[in-house]
Amino acid sequence: MNAPTYNFAYLDEQTKRMIRRAILKAIAIPGYQVPFASREMPMPYGWGTGGVQVTAAILGPIDKLKVIDQGSDDTTNAISIRKFFEKTAGVAVTTSTGDATVIQTRHRIPEATLQAHQVLVYQVPIPEPLRFLEPRETETRRMHALAEYGLMHVKLYEDIARFGHIATSYAYPVKVNARYVMDPSPTPKFDNPKMDNCAALQLFGAGREKRIYAIPPYTSVVSLDFEDHPFEPYKHKACCALCNAEDSYLDEIVTDNKGSRMFVCSDTDYCETRQSQGHRGSENAAPYAESANA
């Protein structure tokens, strides 16, 4: 034997069993936060330790893993986690949404429609949607047990009273399967409609807060709203400067000190796929990737 190796996908088997049991109960009770004995991971809290533990518990040798951070495959967090599983599980990795079987994400849902054979794993910082309204865990737990969500509607109403519209733009609360109010993690509310009736299984892992929850495929996920103030997914009034997409979530990028800016797709795989299909934006008039054609 050479140097000591890690167990497949880093975690020991007892930990995986514990997480796997939590995942099964989470699927059986859509939107309910199942407590689990979150482990120390070789990365700091806030870097996706919950998502990493869920991914490690479900990942197998035949899986193809994609990791995104705010839609991007090539940020530090995404690359680190991808390399972590390449090293400890030896799994194939990809940046293509369509090719992946397991997608771990921080704060975005891919633009491409997810398929039934895929699993989306969210990294969650604060799983409790009521936490900033009621700090006591014993109380929020009772509120969930009684489906007592009036406080959340008051919060949304206060938004309307102060700003004239629901100003919550990310981590926008949803109701899952007409029962539990759930925090969709800090995804922009633009992504909320994608969670509804999604063909893929969605799993959520919060490492520091020690909670796992899930949305099974084809489950109703409704963003909370009012009849006279219906939910509206926010989007910049622009199209992508690189691929001209009008239907994707855009990042605003400041380009100089004079207030110039451009909007580009937050989902890098979606943007690159469109560019390779010949779509051009205002900042990308030159033929894309000439070297690839040479």
């Binding site: 049991r21 099964l24 699927i27 047990a145 099974p216 495929p217 084809y218």
Partner: protein, 202 residues
């Protein structure tokens, strides 16, 4: 008296067999009514089925009290095998078990004998692993609920008397409730507490 040497083996490859078995159970739970296959091979103490044995090796450990029905508890073989391979305590009181393994569906105790969980902690409930005659032939049921695109049909010889009444009671308790994993040989179908069953003609 079985000695350790005579006891059926566990998984040949613990890590990957447990992973593939878990994914089958996870897919079954996420898509109620679909028949998933257990690929992993392990030894099986009679009268346990191969699928049930693989699930036991995958999910049971010292933290999960296990209850066996009278058919499985008739000989000590199953309890010994579970204790040896998984360290799970085999207990006599179903009200506190995490998993119940049932080989005789006709004699399944009513659901109130198991743990439903509490309103605050509905996850602290029993998962019943129920060995059934067939998951491809038998009466047809129409299934609806999370994980199902509209409705799906399951044909299965489940063999539990008053199954639909019991599941209706289970549904009325939501979010508390019992989750079922049906096993027939190497095939499994999950019926989590959110799934609604209706008997279908034909």
């Amino acid at each position: 008296m079985t000695t350790v040497a005579e006891m059926p083996a566990g998984f040949a490859d613990k890590v990957l067999a447990a992973q593939s078995t878990f994914r089958s159970v996870m897919d079954a739970m996420a898509r109620p009514g679909t028949v998933q296959r257990i690929q992993a091979v392990s030894g099986v103490p009679a009268p346990m089925m191969r699928g049930a044995a693989a699930i036991a090796l995958t999910l049971f450990d010292q933290d999960t009290p296990v209850w066996l029905d009278s058919k499985l508890a008739a000989t000590m073989d199953v309890a010994k095998w579970i204790k040896f391979h998984t360290s799970a305590p085999v207990i006599a009181d179903p009200a506190v078990c995490t998993f119940a393994v049932v080989a005789d569906p006709a004699a399944l105790p009513s659901f109130e004998h198991f743990a439903f969980g509490s309103g605050e902690y509905p996850d602290r409930s029993t998962t019943i692993i129920l060995q059934v005659a067939s998951l491809t032939e038998g009466p047809a049921y129409e299934l609806r609920g999370p994980g199902i695109d509209g409705a799906t049909i399951l044909r299965a010889a489940i063999g539990v008397p008053d199954l639909l009444d019991r599941l209706a009671l289970n549904a009325s308790l939501f979010p508390r409730g019992i989750d079922l994993v049906l096993v027939s040989g190497e095939s499994i179908v999950a019926l989590p507490r959110t799934t609604r069953l209706v008997a279908k003609e034909g």
